[in-house]
Amino acid sequence: MTVFCVIPAYNEEAAVGRVVREILPLTDKVVVVDDGSTDRTAEAARTAGAVTLRHVLNRGQGAALRTGTDYCLTAAKVDDLIVHFDADGQMRAEDLPAVLAPLREGRADICFGSRFLREGNQLPPVKKHLIMPLARLFVRLLGIKTTDPQSGFRAMTARLARELVWSDGRVHCSEILLQAHQAERRLVEAPIIVNYFRFGTNTRQGFGIIKDLFIGKLIN
């Protein structure tokens, strides 16, 4: 069972090298997708030991994740695992074994890292008390029970990854969750800690995600 880790990166030369070095011993292959950065992100990732793909234009986090995932799928077998991870250093590599465990044990098809299953996550108040409850309510209305509907830290089987289609921007979190649920795949969550030194998705972007979901439904 090969574990591929896909890391989308945009102007992350300061952090991506450390992230790759931390995650590399826990996986078999790390693929960093430089999403049209204007700094030396790609070089930093390559030096640290990652396979590096480069977008000639900035297309968004979802697009970079898709490129990296598609690249891994060209080599992956159905039971291999694909991890999505961030390049900014906010997620902790040490949480990866817990996220991979349900898949390795054959208990799940996809495992989402949740920031609400253990103490220690210092979420910004707006995110904790406004964005997350709204996102949770939104997915709850669609019949999904999850503690963290906006988690970008996840692992899935290559079999499931082949079935998923997600958009360019930040809406991938909701889309992957919804599609996995609709396909009746086994979803589980594992506790993770995210060290916040950036806000991440703000309220405006949060509403943008709902808008993108709506337009995506109309087009596809």
Partner: protein, 107 residues
């Protein structure tokens, strides 16, 4: 009367512009026909403004025919904006597919 004449001049201007664009092959036949029908319909409606007052009254509009035309114009414009938005999103998706293809191919 003057407003009617002004509207007709504006529509004729757009019709000439459309014809020039077609001649310079800046738009395809389908697009040309669509806009031709659109502007000709607008021209006919403006010329028949008086009978339109009657039609508007029959349809239950309390205002005059020109106001009914404005309602219609707003509805059509809203529809166009919606269509353009969908089209833009589709183009964005196509660009992303191309960028993705190039990234993997160059590896």
């Amino acid at each position: 009367m003057w407003q009617q004449l002004l509207a007709i001049v504006i529509i004729l201007f757009f019709l000439v512009k459309l014809w020039l664009e077609k001649r310079r092959r800046l738009i395809n036949r389908q697009e040309f026909l669509f806009w031709l029908v659109f502007w000709l319909t607008a021209l006919v409606l403006i010329i028949l403004l008086k009978p339109l007052d009657y039609v508007a009254g029959q349809l239950g509009f309390s205002a005059s025919g020109i106001q009914a035309l404005l309602y219609l114009a707003v509805a059509i414009l809203t529809y166009f904006i919606f269509r353009i938005r969908l089209r833009l999103t589709k183009i964005e998706q196509d660009i992303s597919r191309l960028v993705e293809y190039l990234a993997i191919k160059k590896k």
